[in-house]
Amino acid sequence: MERLECSRIAKRYGRGAYALRDISLSIPASGIFALIGRNGAGKTTLVRILATQLSATSGSAHIDGIDVLRQAQKLRERIASVPQEARAVGWLTARQSMVSYLLWRGFGYSEAVEKASRAAKQLGIVGSMDLPNRMLSGGNKRKVLVASAVASGARILFLDEPTTGLDPISRKELWDILMSLKGKHFIFLTTHYLEEAEYLADKIGILDGGRLKAIGTMAELRKMVKRHYIIRTLSDGAVARPVSGTLTRGADGHYQISTTESEAYRISKKLIKRGIKFSMNPLTLDDIFYYIVKKPIDADDYGKEESR
């Protein structure tokens, strides 16, 4: 029963354009699921629908067998959400924020204090607990909110872009925390940091223009792309031109060849023979993402395809 299932979820704000269209998925409600997509792809809309904050225009969704749209109050017993632009309330201390959130969830005062302290320890913010939230670093402010959700004991955590705006070290710290939580919780997170999804997620969904373009593990997503290897070199196109695959040139002068394993092997041998420096890597989630949404984010760098 521990599954997240959506059937043809659609969302239209008023009479405007559809933010989501025909979202159907069925995944185990365990581990970490990352929903990636560009700004405006519909990530927040979907997460808000699943976290019972927003109505869907049509379709249905179930989590652990509970109807998200019709049994919201029942579902709310087992979910917690940290919205995208949530901020710890400025006039409270971290402890006061966490304790009050737990009181709202219906815990007694002493139990709330104890749970807040335990979660603070787990998330490494014990030293910040009695400081006003407004004095905390951006990373610790996010940790206060995540700690509140964790302390609630909710099995399912919805984290909407939990690391946006954090410096690389704070982001990595939060990643480690999320990794440590995934045994006990099902974490549904959205992000536009592709390396974050690749590092954390057991399954990844790619949302674009309100449609779910792909869903699967990294291995499953890789299979959707024919050319699994990327070669980067400063050689001119003539040397590295692939028989099959693409060759693009970026503003920095590098050539990027996207090709199959055997073709990558042939080209690399040719480059070695000529003493030309190059790097060769398997596809990252970035590459898969660009392939699936058909619109490179860094279009200026590798925008023009020279051959196919």
Binding site: R48, A51, T52, Q53, L54, S55, A72, Q73, R76, E77, R78, I79, A80, S81, V82, P83, Q84, E85, A86, R87, A88, V89, G90, W91, L92, T93, Q96, V99, S100, Y101, L103, W104, R105, G106, F107, G108, Y109, A112, P132, L145, S148, A149, S152, G153, A154, R155, F158, K184, H185
Partner: protein, 252 residues
């Protein structure tokens, strides 16, 4: 498997709102306490001086009504702030707290917030209003009804705001209709005749008439007072119903 609490402590849910919106704000920023204490006295002082003290009892009653109505206006702004600037309401929607419990807690927090001013006004009422005990009971009843009306209105409006600017706009309109228009600090006879009809658009006018009649400052017929009660109870009931049923707890 993590434990799922089947029974939630409703007292805790109300306490959370009181702590966040009143106690912690006052403890962490004591200046808030001074501000909330002074708020109802500005007009009371002006009216008292201008009338050479003659309108002091009515002005005390008016300040009581305006403090209670102010609780609703503040509630609207506080909830909009927590909802739109901190996204706190989204976190609470995705929790076992219901809209009803959140409203009850936040309403209670506004009473706690207004308590210093209410206590001072109650002391002034004891000193300067000479009326039978039953009149004071009537005053408490009318304040209670107006409180239900104002916090329900504040909660309802807050759930429709998506930006703090909208919240300011709502507060401006509500303040004008509920505080500038009605004659709460003076008798309605002070308003020129045609404009008196305009004053009756505000529920605060009916509350003021009941209060002014109760303390013996202005005499209204029993029929008028019965109509006044009917109007404020009906408006408060409708507003409470709308707040509970029509508020956008889960957004459309």
């Amino acid at each position: 498997m993590l434990m799922i609490m089947e029974k939630r402590n409703r007292g805790s849910q109300i306490l959370a709102s009181i702590l966040v919106n009143a106690i912690y704000a006052m403890v962490n920023y004591p200046i808030v306490l001074i501000s909330t204490l002074l708020a109802p006295f500005s007009l009371l002082i002006v009216i008292t001086f201008v009338s050479h003290g003659a309108l002091l009892p009515i002005a005390i009653g008016g300040a009581l009504i305006m403090t209670i109505i102010g609780a609703g206006t503040s509630l609207q702004q506080d909830l909009s702030h927590l909802k739109n600037d901190f996204k706190l309401q989204d976190m609470i929607v995705s929790s076992p707290t219901t809209a009803r419990m959140y409203l009850a807690g936040m309403a209670a927090s506004e009473i706690i917030y207004s308590l210093p001013a209410l206590l001072v006004l109650a002391a002034l009422a004891g000193l300067y209003i000479s009326a039978p005990a039953i009149a004071f009971l009537e005053i408490v009843a009318v304040l209670a009804v107006m409180f239900v009306f104002s916090v329900s209105l504040g909660f309802l409006l807050s759930t429709f705001t998506s930006d703090v600017v909208q919240s300011w706009a709502f507060a401006g309109i509500v303040s004008t209709v509920l505080s500038a228009l009605p004659p709460v600090y003076y008798p309605i006879s002070y308003i020129p005749q045609p404009l008196q009809y305009l004053a009756y658009l505000s529920p605060a006018t009916y509350a003021a008439e009941i209060l002014q009649n109760a303390i013996g400052a202005v005499t209204f017929s029993s029929y008028s007072i019965a109509v006044d009660w009917l109007v404020i109870v009906a408006i408060a009931a409708v507003m409470a119903f709308l707040a509970i049923r029509k508020s956008k707890w889960r957004e459309d």
